[in-house]
Each structure stands twice: as C-alpha cells, then as structure tokens.
C-alpha cells in the first residue's frame, strides 16, 4: 500500500467528517420528531365506559381509567407527570425534571387548559388538590430520593389557585410540639391533605428523628403536632379519619404499614395490606383507600384495602400510579 499524501489525508478526513456529521444530524432530527410536543395537551379518541372514572399516571402519562372497567381502554393525554392529582374542576401535575428544566407545578382545569405554571426546585414526590379544587399542595425532595434513608430533605408548598398566592415552604409556619413553640433547623414537612374549609390541613412534620402528624392552618400560618409516627396523611370524606403510612416499629427503615387513625378516639387500625406502602393514600369512598405499589419488576399497580382493617387488598388498576377520583360529571 502506498503512503498517503497530505492531500489524501485531508480528503479522507473531510469524507469522515461529512459522514459522521450527517449521522449525528439525522439522529438529532429523528429524536426531535419522536419527542412529544411540549404544549397543547390533547386526549386520545378512546371513549370510556360511562360511570365513575379515575385519573392516574400510566407510565408517567396522565390518563383516565373507567372504574367500571379498570382493565379496559384508557384515555391518554399528551401530558407527562411524575405525580398528579385532581378534584372538582382542578387537575394538578408535577412535571418530570429533565436536563434543561426543573420540575413545574402545572394546574389545569378539567378540560386540561393550563391555569397556573409554577417553576419549582427538587424532585416531585407528593401532590394534593383540596376537595373544592381551590388549594394545591406539593412535596418535593431537595436532597435524597427516599423517606427511609437518613439525611433526606423535603420542601412542601401550597398554592391558593383562587388568589394565586403561594407559600413556597411550610417551614415558614410557626410549629408547636406538645403545645410549645418548636424551632429547629432539621424540620421537614411532607404529604399535605386538606379539610373541606380550604384553610385547615394535615401534614407530616419530622424533627429530632420523630415524625408527627401536624394540624395546619393556612391563614394563621401555624402547625400543631397532634400524633406521632403518622406519615403522608389522607383525610377521609367525612373528615373524621386519616389514612396514612405508619413506620413499622416506629422506624422507616422497616417499611410502612398502611393504617387508619380515628381522629376522635386517636385509635390506629392497621389495614389488611401487609406489604410496605410508600404512598399518600386516596379515599375512593367512605370505607376504602387506594394506594400505589411498585412490583419487583418495576410495574406500578393501584390497590385498594378496607379502612376498617377487614377483608383482603384487591388490585384496582395495573400499570398505573398516582390515582385521583374524577367525579361523574368531569370529562
């Protein structure tokens, strides 16, 4: 083989550059086409069976499932969420973090027209809309990704969609433990659930290695600890019970038992669900709570259990998480 001349080398290099540049450009344009449009959230044309429906995330896509036929066809939207919830005319979605954008709280109406868009910092974790659709509360992980490791840090905020005013962090509120003002740098708050008056709420507060159920007041900006070892509370429709996850043996490293607290007697009833539940439960009616579980193969499932601790857990929707009830009139 003869030695390449300088000209040969330049020509060869130019050819290689052209081929490689074309490959990269082609792939980038292909990826651009594949990526879903970021605006204009549309629904697929599938019609659901009549009757009650549930909103859930299917592989991170906001979708609707008929409760009469949970295994049947779903209506998929073009909206990607890490966490979603809905009530009355309000749909809330925490969008996934990606390389260019942090998460956003998107608040939409039931026709999926955007109403509020709040940029946030952290990794989406919990999201709740009050029963009237007016208040929206979110929890993000700032440090760490899990509640059962030491040193995680969360941030919880509330948006009043009527006034547009937002509290970025409930840590601004005055906290009381055993009736005494409690100031500490290690306070973390997560998992808000609202009462019917759109002002009072419940949440989890951790400080000094303990996790408390706190009763909050949005207008007065206060948090009062009322019970211990209660995480991710969810208030029943009658406002008298709280479904929550209870750390087994008081230590989150052992996992959590899905349980129900009676606010009148303060008695705790474990549900029949024996697997560890790391979710904020959802009351589907006065007697039943729904929650998401992740199978070992990574598939998410929504299960239900009776609030009084009787019966057996049942599978409600497969391949979905982040459930919310849609009233019959919606969508």
């Amino acid at each position: 083989m003869r030695q390449l001349t300088a000209r040969d080398r330049v020509v060869l290099a130019a050819c290689a550059a052209a081929v490689l540049a074309a490959t990269a450009t082609g792939y980038i344009l292909h990826a651009r086409q594949k990526a879903a449009p970021a605006t204009g959230f549309t629904e697929s044309g599938t019609a659901l069976a009549a009757g009650p429906a549930m909103q859930a995330l299917s592989n991170g896509v906001l979708s609707t499932v008929s409760l009469r036929d949970p295994a049947g066809p779903r209506v998929l939207t073009s909206l990607n969420c890490d966490r979603a919830h809905a009530a009355a005319d309000t749909v809330a979605c925490l969008t996934p973090v990606d390389a260019l954008r942090g998460t956003h709280l998107m608040v939409l109406n039931s026709k999926l027209l955007p109403k509020h868009d709040v940029p946030l910092t952290g990794f989406p974790n919990r999201l709740r809309v009050s029963a009237t659709g007016r208040m929206v509360a979110w929890t993000l992980f700032i440090d760490g990704h899990s509640y059962n490791t030491a040193g995680f840090s969360t941030q919880t905020g509330i948006l009043d969609t009527r006034t547009g005013s937002a509290v970025q962090s409930l840590e601004e509120f005055a906290a009381f433990v055993d009736g005494q003002p409690h100031r500490a740098a290690d306070i973390n708050l997560w998992g808000v659930t609202f009462t019917d008056d759109d002002n009072r709420f419940y949440a989890t507060m951790s400080t000094g290695g303990r996790r408390y159920l706190v009763a909050g007041d949005f207008a007065a900006k206060t948090l009062r600890a009322i019970a211990e070892n209660v995480e991710c509370p969810s208030l029943s429709p009658d406002g008298r019970r709280i479904a929550f996850k209870a750390a087994v043996g008081g230590d989150p490293a052992n996992g959590w038992r899905l349980s129900v607290l009676d606010l009148t007697t303060m008695k705790v009833t474990p549900t029949a669900e024996s697997r560890s539940v790391d979710d904020q439960p959802l009351w589907t009616d006065g007697d039943t709570v729904a929650y998401a579980l992740q199978r070992s193969d990574g598939i998410n499932e929504i299960w239900t259990a009776r609030a009084d601790g009787t019966g057996r857990p049942g599978l409600l929707v497969s391949g979905a998480n982040s459930p919310a009830l849609l009233s019959a009139g919606d969508r």
């Binding site: 080398r9 490959t23 980038i28 990826a31 651009r32 594949k34 954008r101 899990s146």
Partner: protein, 413 residues
C-alpha cells in the same frame, strides 16, 4: 517498517510548535468535546432519568476511575515495549468512542451503564501516557512547557465547548433525548480517532533501533532513579492536594446559595480559565523553571479552598474559585509532564509518564474519599480547613523535593 526518510520529524518553523503536537492537540480537542458533552449530562441522566441516588453516582464514578488507574501503567508499558505509542493511544481513543455507543446499548440498565463508563475510563487511562510521550518526543526539551501549554489549551477548548454542544443538542432534539447526545458524542469521538490515525505520526524511528527491548526489570529500574522517585513523589503530592472539583463546586453552591443549574457553568468557568492560562503559564515555565511554576499550582489551590472559608461575597467567589482551579490545572497538569519528559529515557518515557499519572490519580482518589469522610464527620468548614492545611503541607513537601530543580536541560539557570 517505516522508512526513516518518510517518518523523519517534521521541520519546525522557528517559534512554532511541532505539527505533531498540533495534530495531537486537535485530537484532544475533538475528543474532549465528545467526552465532556457526556460528562455534563451523565449525572442528570443517571440521577433524574434513571432515579439513581447521587451517592450511587459518586460510587460508580469513583470506583471505575479508580479501577482503571492501573491500566495506565499497563498501557504505558505496552506502548514502550512494542514501541508503538500511536497504536496504544488509538486503542484508547477507540475504546472511549465505543463506550458512547455502549451507553445507548445499555438502555438504562445500571450494570450496562457501569460497564460503558468503565470502558470509557479504561480508554482514557490507556491513551493519556502514550499521547504525552509523543508530545515530548516531538518537541525539543527547552520548548516542552510551551508545547504542553498549546496541547492543554486545545484540550480545554474541547472541554469548554463540550457542555455547550450537549445543551445545543438537547435544545434541538428535546430535553429528554439523552440518546441523541450519546450518538452525537460517538460521532465526534469517531472523528477524533480518524484525525489521530491520519495526522499523528509515531516516533518509533527516533529510538535507537537496536536497543534492548523494554522488560519489566528495566521498567522497574526507573524507580531507582532519584529524579524519577522525586517526581513521582511530587505527582502523589499533587493528587493528595486535590479534593475533586465536584466537592469544591458543591461547597461553593452551598456557601453562595446557588441553584443546582450553576454546576455545569462552574465547570465551564474552570475550563475557560484553564484554556486562557495554559499557554502563557507553559511559556513561563520554560523561562523561569517548571518546578517553580508547579509550586504556583499548589498556591492556586490553597487560594481556591481558602476563599471558601473567608467572609467573601458570593459574586467574588464565583469568579475566584473557578479561576484558581483553572490556574492550578494550567500550572501543574502539562507542566509536570514537561518537567518529567527530559528526565525519562526515551524508550521508557510512556511507562514513566504513566507512573506519574497513576501516582497522582491514586493519591487523588484517596484524598477525595478522605475529604468526603471529613465532610461527613466534622462538617464542611472543618473539612475545608483540613484541606487547606493539607495542601499547604503538600506544597511545602513538593518544594523540598524540587528544591534543587530537576536535572535535565530544561531549566534555564
């Protein structure tokens, strides 16, 4: 075999850098664009895209960097033994290019990604010493500082541009199209390999043709040379003084209350300082002595860590910290190689340079782990104070080792 007339060292224009150094610089520039565009998005891909904890990412990064460190020595020795430094360097560049395809093939499996990262680091380990040896073999000793300055400047232009290219790809392809970044990175790396194969010349012919082949015994003899021992000591001290840019940026972010989005920009700032300073510092090292410039590097590091303890406005910190890190790299990275080149016999040069790089890398691994532990146990402030004291001690020890300079024709006295 090569004909000596064909592969004679190219003519050098007066005051110009050898064509081979420019060719190697171009390869490094292109390759650094490729690798830095992945480095810039890999943490986001692993932590956000795959939900890996930041700690797990740190472990993956550290373990693979550490485990491939010894490969540098093996690669350096192999290059000297078969006397084909270009071939070993090409294997390294090729491995790193293939690793980019591996990231796509892994399709989100943590094990697969771990393997791809390991292959990438292995490639980097393999190529660095033969490349630096080729630079020293293409340059007269008294111009080594400048030659490395030019090379490292081109290298850091690539490092500077890489994250920007990655952002451009993401903004066109969609912000979760990580695979588009990997494919582009592969194409860029492949082009770097083409440039290496076409334009870089090996220097097998410059070695005495009948010299005894390199053996492990001869290579081990390197360590009996006092000058080599002292330089290896200096390389280890440099490694010990370095706690890792990631930690420094994290400290800066906490102190100045920056949002996480600043992270890539701090790295870009350091690259910018490095690329602007590499050539002038390299030339300075040819004039005043490379060992003196090396000590300036320790000083830069002490300033960079020290300001994190001082009550200084965050706007000043954002400028001073990347600037001192860039100065540290400009004053130590290429300068150490330029200092070592003339001390090492030509036929063992790759092995010798690999020895220094391995010593520095192992020491760095140890010091970053220790710093992480110190941070965890005593808090950020005390850990930084320890780092400042440690760097000062390492700098004084290096000054002692270099007190009479290093034998070789490079020091103008």
């Amino acid at each position: 075999m090569y004909l000596s007339t064909v592969d004679r060292p190219r003519q050098r224009l007066k005051g110009a850098v050898a064509a081979n150094v420019l060719a190697l610089g171009t390869v490094s520039l292109i390759t650094d664009v490729s690798s830095e565009m992945v480095t810039a998005i890999l943490p986001v891909y692993l932590v956000v895209g795959l939900q890996l904890s930041p700690a797990a990412y740190g472990v993956i990064d550290g373990v693979y960097t550490g485990s491939t460190v010894l490969l540098r020595l093996a690669g350096g020795y192999a290059a000297d033994r078969i006397r084909r430094r270009k071939a070993v360097a090409a294997a390294g560049y090729g491995l790193s290019a293939a690793a980019k395809l591996g990231l796509i093939a892994a399709a989100g499996s943590t094990t697969g990604i771990g393997v791809a990262i390991a292959v990438d680091r292995a490639g980097k380990g393999l190529r660095t010493a033969p490349r630096d040896a080729l630079i020293t073999l293409s340059t007269p000793p008294h111009r080594l500082g400048r030659a490395f300055g030019v090379h490292r400047m081109m290298d850091s232009i690539g490092a500077f541009a890489g994250p920007l290219v990655a952002l451009a790809v993401l903004s066109v392809a969609g912000s979760r199209s990580y695979d588009a970044v990997f494919v582009t990175s592969f194409c860029v790396a492949a082009f770097g390999l083409v440039v290496l194969l076409l334009f870089v010349r090996d220097h097998a012919n410059r070695l005495a043709p009948r010299s005894e082949p390199v053996s492990p015994r001869i290579a081990a003899g390197l360590l009996r040379e006092p000058a080599v021992r002292r330089l290896t000591g200096v390389a280890c001290l440099l490694g010990l003084a370095t706690i890792g840019d990631g930690f420094v940026y994290l400290l800066l972010q906490r102190k100045a209350g920056l949002s996480l989005g600043w992270f890539p920009l701090l790295a870009v700032g350091t690259s910018l300082a490095y690329l602007l300073l590499a050539l002038p510092i390299g030339r300075l090292s040819d004039r005043i002595g490379r060992h003196r410039v090396l000590l300036i590097g320790f000083l830069a590091l002490i300033i960079g860590y020290g300001v994190l303890l001082a009550p200084i406005p965050s706007t000043v910190l954002i400028v001073v910290v990347p600037l001192s890190l860039g100065l540290f790299y400009a004053a130590t990275d290429g300068v150490l190689m330029a200092l070592a080149g003339p001390v090492l016999p030509a036929r063992l040069r790759t092995t010798g340079l690999a020895l220094l790089q391995t010593g520095q890398a192992v020491a760095y691994l140890g010091s970053s782990v220790l710093f992480g532990l110190a941070w965890q146990s005593w808090g950020a402030g005390d850990a930084v104070a320890i780092a400042v004291a440690g760097t000062l001690a390492a700098g004084l020890a290096a000054a002692f080792l270099l007190r009479r300079g290093v034998p070789g024709p490079e020091v103008v006295s």
